[in-house]
Homo-oligomer: 242 residues x 6
């Protein structure tokens, strides 16, 4: 059985990671998972938020947003409505936690890196693309800090790599990297964030319809670990370029 | 090795579920997991939100909040700050999704039930206590609808039961139903929502420190399934009382 | 003629004042006037707001809120609407002023005590129950400060006691401690805050229908003074317990 | 003993009531109590708020605000801060209630009148000047409705007149119509709203320092009733002009 | 051809500039352009916003607002809606820029002057009346600073004068100082801010209907320069009074 | 004398207009003026805002925003701050007015087109690039409406073309299409919106330092008209592609 777009169950959509997409940001990446395109920038500032001052430790945080017409029908701007929606909050927090899981804040020193992930076009998996792209922008920003000597020469603020994939059960079949149409029809939807060594940073599974069994959960985790490993490769390849 | 409060790794804190705690609400429960106390009310209104009108289907949603001094140090009121925080949004959404997973909206008809979960005292596990208590309030509200004939006599809006527990890894040991002190020290923290038949509605695991392995994930899931089964018993017992 | 609930005109509803209702707050009270139940916590922090720093004087303030389903029909959460309503503002200010009337800020020193009064169940008189309960929570918080030596040993921050009662004219008859049904039907509604020695801190009378005469005003004040004296007794009794 | 500005204890400041101060509003008044100047407009719209539709009854409401530099030091604009402060809310509600006390909503029919009271210059007593001036603007707006035949020919939407005065105890002496300097020093501050026949619509007394006795309360009420009677005269005189 | 109100194309409406309209503000002006009336106050505070501290330079800013019933139909209060509208923002910024164009911030020293321009009655040209009146209030505030020795004796913070006029094309004819009815019908609308020596500070022309030609633009600029020269005279006359 | 980037005074930066940059929007353009890149989408919805219903006329509006790191230092998200800044409001309104100047709303029928202009990278002239790109997106959206028969076959909703350029005086020299560094140093800054036939839709000139003379204004207008003519060519060329 083949999927809507002809993929096999365990096949990711084409992934591209373009670095240096902005002339201003210390790290910037346009990441695409198929038709999902997210623009990730990493902004470095010296100093940390008030509650962390004097600790000798840095901070990493993230903000996620969708452009109003990233989706099939236009959504209101959150700035115009005057408040951040629950979904936006939730995803921003997820991205921030995921990246912090591979940061050694002592090594970063009292510097702050903000990851902005703005979805230019959405077709499912925007949060997982955002995490995957933001990691690369973060790595570039850390390199920039090294060049500017904002970080001690031997300090290694990144303790590993991190990537994320969505998996789900559609018509009873576990699939990886769901596009929007699959996502809408999924009975179970799971976002998994893994480090490059195959361990878990986040596992967020939700039954959209029927509750799911332990076996189904296991199948989804298998798909996710395999998908993240592929994304890890794509990240390394992107970062290996000059 | 025994825990801070003397429990074994797989032992829940004392659970109490007091029904009819309010004279106004169609369902109302004071639930406690140890020192965590959450007041859950279910409010029935005829009709549904605009986007669902004419569908013949009902709606269930939830709002979670903490009283300012539910915690050890006083937090600002979100109403005073003028916006809902990300954590509050996230938990409200989780509770709503969890309860909707056991609702047949056709059977509910065009009625709306809002679950308000207000934390009176917090000591870890507030969201899991909220889900567990809110289910009982929801069941009472559904019964109230039946008495008032808002629902067809044979309709069964509840397709199952649902409860939730937090589990985590503290000092390398998987523990169930973390209290606040354990939660703060946990390397991995997971909230699991199960139906009464032992299937999963939500699995949300987060590495607070080190990433976690597949084995650790499995241990946590085992604990969670066992914990939810116990909570399911407590719910049934509470609902069996007149 | 007897009232809806069988009371005489000058009879209060049953009053209960339960102390130590929370394990976190420095003072905490669940107060009930009949079916009206308000949870009052007193939170101590060292230091004072910016505009008072260096004055050597402390500060006491209050915030009042209703849980969404404290009333017969569910009200929107003010946090969700993103702003505090006029009624909430007004009552919070009233509670704060009432308590400050019995505080010697020099004796309190540069400490701040915040009284949170959250209505768990409403049946008329929520603001008067809140003031009455908050005074007891405040007294416990002051005692806590003494134990922790945040206040000088001989300092007496409380210069008196304070309690409040609602009175009103229903069907031409002055009544004390109105329940919700009486309150709705009252032609005149008055909230009176008295010190333990029978003097006035606040008198807020409002004609809901016909304007009221000087004689009617005098009858209401008589009822209020008598009611507050009874509440003063209930407060003393509660505080006398260990 | 004479007052700061040479008045006797029971003497009002000079009161002026200028009608037709705006070419747009259906009623408009510039009222001054000494240096306190409030611009009151009454705006008529056909129809009523949603919750009152079909009742055959009208509605009257009020909004109070201060210009930023109405006071001695500039205050932030509430529009810029993005929220209405508690004091503003409280006074707006007081003005609305006071005016509604003399309105027969059946006679008004399904029309809405909004009273805007904007303080151009403040020197104590802004809320009482606002009520006194707004009544005159309201009377003009009702006359305008009659001319336009928005109201039935014989209907009398105004059932009486209403005016307001502040009174207080300064250095132990009861005084009427406090100016700002007196207000700041007052031990007790009371705002009283009376109808033209000398009955009470609102009595709001607050101990700013020491609690006040029943005797003091009585003295203040005497002063207030006398002051309102004088204001009633000023209103009648203003309305008698063409 | 004569205009709605009988003026010639190049004739301004009657202009009045009343100084000292408030007892509190350091400068205060009630300016009228025909039926448009704007109350302008200048508030001096020592010190500057954070971003300018230590620069030795002062700051001037402005806030514009309309009273709700300044216009023919009542508008909602921006404070009640909880946000400043786009038009208000735009005009506040325009007024601030216009006044800053004639200020030498070094000469002003680290003082801040805020111009509040509140429209009491609107009949077209509110922003131009506001700029013209605010300049006079600013001049009075600068004089006040000199008297209080907040500014060095020889420092001249005002480097020139500034006034503003609206011009437009109505039924094909260029007209100056549009009243509301003309403004609504104008095909092109332009606001021009000039210094007393006839140079431009702001030129803001907008085609409301048909685009406008270079010739039309030139005719409008001619009218505007002539109008501003007249306003400059009115300002000088007002300031020449004691 | 050559400019920072080697251009002559009247030379535009390289202009690119890429159509169909999004798969969802009815019109979508990535426009760049040198390093300034703006993503413009046109979203069509059937129906119009409430105030326009039943008129038979359509509506066109615009929203402008900057991504947080579009600029050299990161700016706060307006959604996070909870309000739209004055500059954003002002530019959104300018873009909307500019596009409406070439729309025949009768021909558009009761359809609404929203133009979203999100700045991905800023280097001066973001509002002029936005207008220029949004026009092309609008044209594509109109064509889409024709294909879907939302517009009558012979109706021509676009009555002309529109483009915009910034011009300014830097070191006394009038220059066209200012980049950020020139913009910061400009004594006078002007944004001009022209139709394809060389007439004006908007002229917004501001003296940032010294006021500007009529001669300087004329030079700037000459540059602007020439620049817009070039942009008109670029738009036509882009739209001529399939």
């Amino acid at each position: 059985m083949s999927r809507i777009d002809g993929r096999t169950a365990e096949q990711l959509r084409p992934v591209t990671i373009q670095r240096n997409w902005s002339k201003h940001a210390e790290g910037s990446v346009l990441v695409s998972f198929g038709d999902t395109k997210v623009f990730c920038t990493a902004s470095v500032t010296e100093g940390v938020p008030r509650w962390r001052r004097g600790s000798g430790e840095g901070w990493v945080t993230a903000e996620y947003a969708m452009l109003p017409r990233a989706t099939n029908t236009r959504g209101d701007r959150e700035a115009v409505r005057g408040k951040i929606g629950g979904r936006t909050h939730e995803i921003s927090r997820l991205i921030g936690r995921s990246l912090r899981s591979v940061v050694d804040f002592k090594a970063l020193g009292e510097n702050t890196i903000v990851l902005d992930c703005d979805v230019l076009q959405a077709d499912g998996g925007t949060r997982t693309a955002a995490i995957t792209g933001a990691y690369v922008a973060l790595a570039d920003a850390v390199a920039w800090c090294h060049e500017r000597k904002l970080i001690r020469a031997k300090a290694q603020p990144l303790t590993g790599t991190v990537a994320a994939i969505s998996v789900g059960i559609v018509d009873g079949v576990p699939l990886t990297d769901l596009c929007y149409e699959e996502d809408v029809r999924a009975e179970t939807d799971m976002n998994v964030v893994c480090t490059g060594d195959g361990r878990f940073v986040e596992v967020q599974g939700t039954a959209e319809g029927e509750p799911f069994s332990r076996d189904e959960l296991n199948s989804l985790l298998d798909l996710a670990v395999a998908g993240c490993a592929q994304l890890d490769g794509a990240q390394r390849q992107a970062l290996a370029a000059p």
